[in-house]
């Protein structure tokens, strides 16, 4: 029998006080359900998480490092897009 590895999954966990899921790492699993279980066992052992997303790594389309300049350099000089010229009231959360 040929040795075949389980597919790779990327794992995203939402922390107790987190507002969004954050990438925490990856793991191997035979299917989606097992990936959730494995993510629970591997990445939430220390009381971190309240929610898990998993997605097969090969389902992710990533930008290429070669495109770095055309994609990201144009925003490098447009400081006016940041709200740094406003006073942000203290009671506005999550900025």
């Amino acid at each position: 029998m040929t040795e075949r590895e389980w597919p790779l999954y990327e794992v995203f966990v939402r922390g107790k006080r987190g507002l969004n899921h954050v990438h925490v790492g990856s793991l191997h699993a035979a299917d989606d359900e097992m990936a959730v279980r494995h993510a629970r066992d591997v990445y939430t052992r220390r009381n971190e998480g309240v929610s898990i997303w998993v997605v097969r790594a090969d389902a992710i389309t990533a930008s290429s490092p070669d495109e770095k300049d055309p994609l990201f350099a144009p925003s490098g000089d447009k400081v006016y897009r940041h709200p740094t010229f406003y006073e942000i009231p203290a009671d506005v959360p999550h900025m």
Partner: protein, 315 residues
């Protein structure tokens, strides 16, 4: 895993943020998850009225030893599971059970200090450790399915399935115990065992419906462990008497429920219920009476050797 684990020291938008809130100003105690709950916080620890303290201690030892001994067997899987992910899963289950065992051993010692082996004067070993590391095999009260030596991965899956299905049913009822400590320990354990049963049930199905090889391994493991199943559902006099006082659970009362759960797993997996009879005791004595297989002695020798070599050690 091809990626490194997340770096906990990276403070920028990490999912682990906020875990140290409780430890502000005390970074020497650094650890993840300071939001831990003490399962016994605010719990009344007096022995309920009308309950024989020695019987309560013995009952706690039974529940504790099942967890402690199986926990050690699962720990032996460390670094040996088919995948890193399964390795961690088994270690997690082992640690859950160890946590239950600690609370129950401490409860046994508090209910009746006479059950704790005596150690040299001035030994710093706490009672729960004395019970775990300084008792002989015949003082252990666990069922034998917890102690038999490990086999292959199918073996550990079947063992976890059988033990966790029974233990979950017991603890669900024990959560209503008149003994508030047992009730609190049970309430905590129910969530853990629900996961253990789910884990084992999924693997049972996967192996049964997998390859010819995985299926034959699974059926072989079930056949091997089945004779030890009935012992978990038999009532020892201590269990019966504590059930009568509303403190313990009589295992015979969960037998039907456990059978139904297992039948569902067997049915969906296309596996026949084994027809092998129960492993007999010796003159009616089984694990609950301190009658064990040789394998427990060998396991304890390894588990206890360091603690026994240093009875005054600090850990």
């Amino acid at each position: 895993m091809s990626h490194s684990a997340p770096d906990p020291s990276d403070a920028h938008g990490s999912v682990y943020d906020g875990l140290l809130d409780g430890a502000v100003g005390d970074s020497s105690q650094w650890a993840f998850g300071t939001d831990f709950e003490d399962p016994l916080a605010g719990v009344d620890t007096t022995v309920p009225e009308g309950v024989d303290p020695h019987a309560l201690a013995t009952y706690c030892l039974m529940l504790a030893d099942d967890a402690l001994v199986l926990s050690h067997r699962l720990s032996e899987w460390c670094s040996r599971a088919p995948d890193l992910e399964e390795d961690i899963a088994l270690a997690n289950i082992a640690l859950d059970l160890l946590g239950q065992a600690r609370l129950l051993l401490a409860r046994a010692a508090a209910a009746d200090p006479a059950v704790v082996p005596s150690l040299p004067e001035g030994s710093p070993v706490p009672p729960e450790d004395a019970l775990a590391f300084f008792r002989e095999a015949q003082a252990f009260r666990n069922v034998r399915i917890a102690e038999v030596a490990n086999g292959d991965f199918a073996h550990v899956v079947v063992r976890i399935l059988l033990v966790s299905t029974v233990r979950l049913a017991l603890l669900v009822r024990l959560a209503d115990s008149r003994d508030t400590v047992l009730a609190a320990v049970a309430a905590k354990g129910v969530k853990e065992l629900t996961y253990h049963r789910d884990y084992a049930g999924r693997w049972f199905l996967t192996l049964a419906r997998g390859t010819e090889e995985s299926r034959s391994r699974l059926v072989g493991a079930l056949d091997l462990l089945w004779p030890l199943y009935a012992e978990m559902l038999a009532a020892h006099p201590v269990e019966s008497s504590l059930a009568e006082t509303g403190v313990g659970v009589d295992p015979t009362t969960v037998a039907t429920e456990v059978d139904v759960v297992l039948e569902q797993v067997f049915a969906v997996s296309g596996v026949d219920r084994p027809d092998r009879g129960a492993l007999a005791g010796v003159r009616g004595r089984t694990g609950r009476d301190g009658l064990h297989t040789e394998e427990l002695s060998r396991m304890l020798a390894e588990m206890q050797v360091v603690a026994r070599a240093h009875p005054e050690g600090r850990w």
